[in-house]
Every structure is written in C-alpha cells, then in structure tokens.
Amino acid sequence: MKQGKIENSEPDTMTATENLSAERTPVISVKNLVKKFGNFVANDHLTFDVFKGEIFGFLGANGAGKTTAMRILCGLSSPTSGELMVSGYDVYKQAELIKRNIGYMSQKFSLYEDMTVAENIRFYAGIYGLSVRQRKEKEQVMLQKLNLESVRDKLIASLPLGWKQKLAFSIALLHDPKIIFLDEPTGGVDPITRRQFWDLIYEAAAEGKTIFVTTHYMDEAEYCSRVSIMVDGRIAALDTPDVLKKQFGADNMNGVFLQLARSATRTD
C-alpha cells in the first residue's frame, strides 16, 4: 500500500511544476536581504523569488544562515536591510497581514502533548480566529483524511511521532494559508513516515499552496520544484534539482551539496 502511494505522488510533482510555469506570480519576493548580528553577517544580500504552488527547498549546512532567513520571512525576526514581500505584503509594514496568510511548522511539531488531538485543533483554530462551524468542518475532514478519528480524544503524548508530524502539518494548514514554512519538518523521523509526509506536502502544493522547506536530507531536495543552496550566508546555487545536477556534474543532490558546502568557511 505504502509503495503504491509513493509512486502515485510523482505526478503531483509534475502538476506543481506545470502550475509554476503557467502563472509566474512570485508569492515570496526577496531582494538584497541582509541580516547582521553585530559584525556577523548571517544573510549576505539574498535575492530570490518563490512562485505559487512551488515546493521551494532551502538548503545549507548548519550555520549557513537558512534558519535566519526563514525566521525573517515568518516575521520572527526583522531584517537589517533589503526588500521583502511575502504573499504580496511588505515584511516591514504589513507583518500582521502576512501572519494571517502563512503557516509554520518546525521540527518540534509544536503540538501540546498534554492536550488531546481535538483540543489542539480547537486551540489553533481559535488563535487564527476560525468560527466554531468552520473549525468543526475542518476538524472532521482533517481527521478523516489522516485516519485519526479514533484518537480524537487521546492525548498527543500517546501518539507515535509520525502521526504527530502529520497532524502538526495539517494544523499548520488549518487557516488556509497561502504559504507554508517548514523548518526541517522531517528531522528524526523514519524514511517511510518521511515519504508519507512528503505525500502531504505534494498534495498541499497541488492545491496551489506554496511550500518553503528547509531540510538536511538530500533525497528530499530531489522532491523540490526548485532548490536554493546557501553557503556562508549567500545563495551559492538556485535552480531545479535536474539543472543543478547537470551544472555540477553530479549524480544526485548530495553530490551537488557536497561540492558547494566544501567551499564553506563557516561552521557551527
């Protein structure tokens, strides 16, 4: 069953990429983003666009500055300089509007372990201002899709990691955000669960959501529509996985990454 699912997901990538060429509206637009901490330049003139329906892979070794850039895009940190638009809003002036249009999920899954599945859903729906009716509808559909109806009233602490991860992702989508930021979402999860998680990502992308994802797994980089690789606070490469592999004469993304990362001077 699981294998079947994996194969099924391949055409989804195609749809996502086709969408991409059809309408080239950047939903994230970054020009000359600079972020300094004192003398340390974490982000050195980053410039890139992310398009609607794209799965944008944001790669880099530890300390390369990818988390900093992502936090700025999410409004968790403010940039030193540069022009940034997220979902059509200005990062400096319209942070509140951006927040309503983005979802965020980190490696830590961010569910409350001492609350039940339903209570977590209710809480997150509440802080995004969903009405009770909307929330009930979404909850029903979501639990059905994830096959979690039976554990609706179980504490999160009692669920396996993979379930928590899927649930956290679905909760990040609860308020219909246009863009979803995923910060190393598959850390510490087994390969099968990871693969299933990527099915969810494809599905969301196929529905027109834009996915911005950081990862350490190079096989995951292959699933992305486009990949940017950061080295020492700068973007060293940015293109589709296929183009990058050709450009660097590598068999897989791992080869591309190693060639670029080796030139790095910064480490954690």
Binding site: C74, L76, S106, F109, Y112, Y124, G126
Partner: protein
C-alpha cells in the same frame, strides 16, 4: 476576545493536567500553613511540668494555678525533695521543673525579693527556651498585678521584657511570610516556567507566527496564574485568620488590593525571568536561587532584618517580599490604612514597572 479566552483555557489545561503543578499550586500553601500553624499551636500546649514548692503559701498556689490554667502547662506531679528533680527530668517526660524557694510570699512582700528556679530540659533547646519564657512571662504578669501598687523592684526575674508577647508576634509573622513566599512561588516561578516551556517545546514560535500579538500571548499565559494566585491569597488569609486566629485588624479590601499588586509584581518578575532564560531548568534555577531563598532568608519572614549584618540588610531592600511583608504586617496586625503603607506600595509598583520594562526590552532584542 474569543481568541484570548481560548488561550486562557489552553493554559488551564496545562495547569490542571500536570499533577506537579497542582501540588505546587495548592498542596504546598496548605501544607506550609498547616505545618507552621500546628507547630506554633502544639509545641507549647500541655507541656508537662513538675513543681517543687517549698513554701506552699497562697502566692505560690496562685502562681501554680495561673500556670496550669494557661493551657500551656500540665502538672505532671509535685516533688518533695531536691533529689527528685534530676530523676524526673532524666525520664524525659517532664520538660520543666519549677522550684519555689522558702517563704516565698513573705519574702516577696517584705524584701521585694523571692526565689523561683526554673529548670528546663534543654535537650530540645527551642522548646526549653519557649517554656521558660512562657513561664517567666506568666509569673511576671502575676507578680506585676499583685505587687503593682508596691513600688518595689521586681526581682523575681530581672528581665522585665515581654518575652511572652514577642513570641506571640512571631507566630503572626508566619502568615504574611508564607503568603509572600507562596505568591512569589506561583506567580513568578510558575509563570516563568510555563513561558519557557513553550519556548522549549517550540510552540512559542508557532504562537509568534500566528496573528496573536506578543502582548496577547503573555497576557494569556499569566492570566490563569493571576487568578490562581488570588485564590491562593484568599485561601492563606482565610486559613490564617479563621483557623489559626491571626488577626486582620485593617481593611480586607486594602489587604486584597495590596496582595493583587504583589501578585502583579511577581508576574512581571516571572515574565522577566522567562525572557532571560531559554529553558525551564534555567528559569527554575533562577527562581529558586534568586527568588525563593532570598524570600525565605532575607525578607524578614524567618530572620528579623534588624538582626542581620549590615550588608545583608542593604541587600534585603531589593527583595520584593520584604516590602510586602511589612505591608501585610501593618494592615493585619496593626490595622493601619494606606497612609502608613504608601511607601512600601510605591516600591512594589516601581519594581513591577522595572521588571516589565526589562522583559519587553529583552523580548524586542530577541526578535531583532
């Protein structure tokens, strides 16, 4: 508003579902009160004494009956010889022996001088101290009343300080002290832990990415603790007043007002601690080392500030509970109004503002 209520509800889930939190919130205050309360009421209740009365005149009889009717002492037996004294103390049941000298009342009336010897079992030094001071207190009281019109120096017991009252007052000190400590514990420590827990779990980031404003998040986090702290304040005052008979002479409204002010100050402190620490462990550590210990040791709760070495007296000024305890003591025991506690009140207000300013500043730099 709905969002906010949802947030508060979530916070109550965390509190009510964590047994340790519940114990700290409600178990500790009650246990502390019972502990201090019963230690105070029982320690010197029905202590067994023996009396060796060599005079057996009306005055010694009266003193004896005064002592026994005080409720603190129980006559174990009357002794007949000096030898019995050591024997009975050795047995350990009798904690104190009272020896009246010969011709007690005649000597006292004529010479203004009579002999009473109090022999206490000091294997428990605190108890012995209390017993002797209670005894001398009662005797002094009696002699003073009997002989008050005679202008003779009281030479039964040269110390004329009211040891008795002094002890009684320290009894009353415990309720304000426990109150300050518990409110500090719940408000400052529990809030700082609960906020840092969200940081540690990574949920804080999700909250910050959501449309909730940081102010809303913080208010949502502290509101439950504010409510629980107020309940606790009422509980402690209630138990202190109705069960242990600690007087509340001043106005209840002012008392509650000051308590709420102290709680708010402690909440600000908790928020500040949480903005300084990354993990729950650090928050807990700061709370215990920097808050609980000074509250217990330097606030005047257990050791009186006047008796501290000068440097510690200076340090005690920055301990918020010190001011709160003064306020409580003044309102509860002396029954004074705002006119007498405005200075301490201002200090607390100032501290609250200071803490919240530091917290906000820290929070902003973290976001940048």
């Amino acid at each position: 508003m709905d969002r906010f209520l949802g947030f508060v509800k979530k916070e109550f889930f965390h509190i009510f579902r964590d047994r340790r939190t519940m114990i700290i919130l409600f178990g500790i205050p009650i246990i502390q009160l019972m502990l201090f309360g019963t230690v105070i009421t029982n320690e010197i209740k029905d202590a067994r004494i023996a009396i060796y009365d060599q005079s057996k005149d009306e005055m010694t009889q009266e003193i004896t009956s005064k002592l026994l009717s005080s409720g603190y002492f129980l006559l174990d037996r009357n002794l007949q010889t000096t030898n019995d004294i050591e024997a009975i103390l050795k047995k350990g049941r009798v904690k104190e022996v009272l020896v009246f000298g010969r011709d007690f009342s005649r000597k006292l009336k004529r010479e203004g001088k009579a002999d009473i010897q109090i022999i206490a079992d000091a294997s428990d030094p605190n108890l012995a101290k209390m017993l002797t001071s209670y005894t001398t207190g009662i005797i002094n009281d009696y002699i003073f009343k009997e002989m008050g019109d005679l202008h003779l120096p009281m030479q039964v017991e040269p110390e004329v300080r009211m040891v008795y009252n002094e002890n009684l007052q320290s009894v009353y000190m415990f309720v304000p002290g426990i109150m300050a400590m518990i409110l500090m514990l719940i408000s400052a420590m529990m809030t700082s832990i609960s906020i840092t827990r969200e940081k540690e779990l990574g949920t804080m980031e999700i909250l910050l990415v959501s449309p909730l404003r940081p102010v809303q998040i913080i208010l949502g986090k502290v509101t439950p603790y504010l409510l629980l702290s107020i309940i606790n304040a009422v509980l402690i005052l209630g138990i202190g007043h109705f069960i242990f008979g600690v007087p509340i002479k001043g106005s209840w409204v002012l008392l509650m007002g000051e308590s709420v002010l102290f709680i708010l100050m402690a909440l600000c402190l908790g928020i500040m601690i949480s903005s300084l620490s990354k993990t729950q462990m650090v928050a807990m550590f700061i709370s215990v080392i920097a808050l609980m210990l000074p509250t217990i040791l330097l606030s005047g709760f257990i050791f009186s500030i006047e008796n501290m070495p000068l440097p510690l007296q200076v340090v005690s000024h920055i301990i918020p509970p010190r001011w709160f305890i003064v306020i409580l003591r003044n309102i509860m025991l002396k029954g004074v109004g705002m006119a007498y506690v405005w200075k301490e009140t201002l200090v607390l207000v100032f501290m609250a503002l200071l803490f919240v300013t530091i917290a906000v500043k820290k929070f902003k730099t973290r976001l940048e």
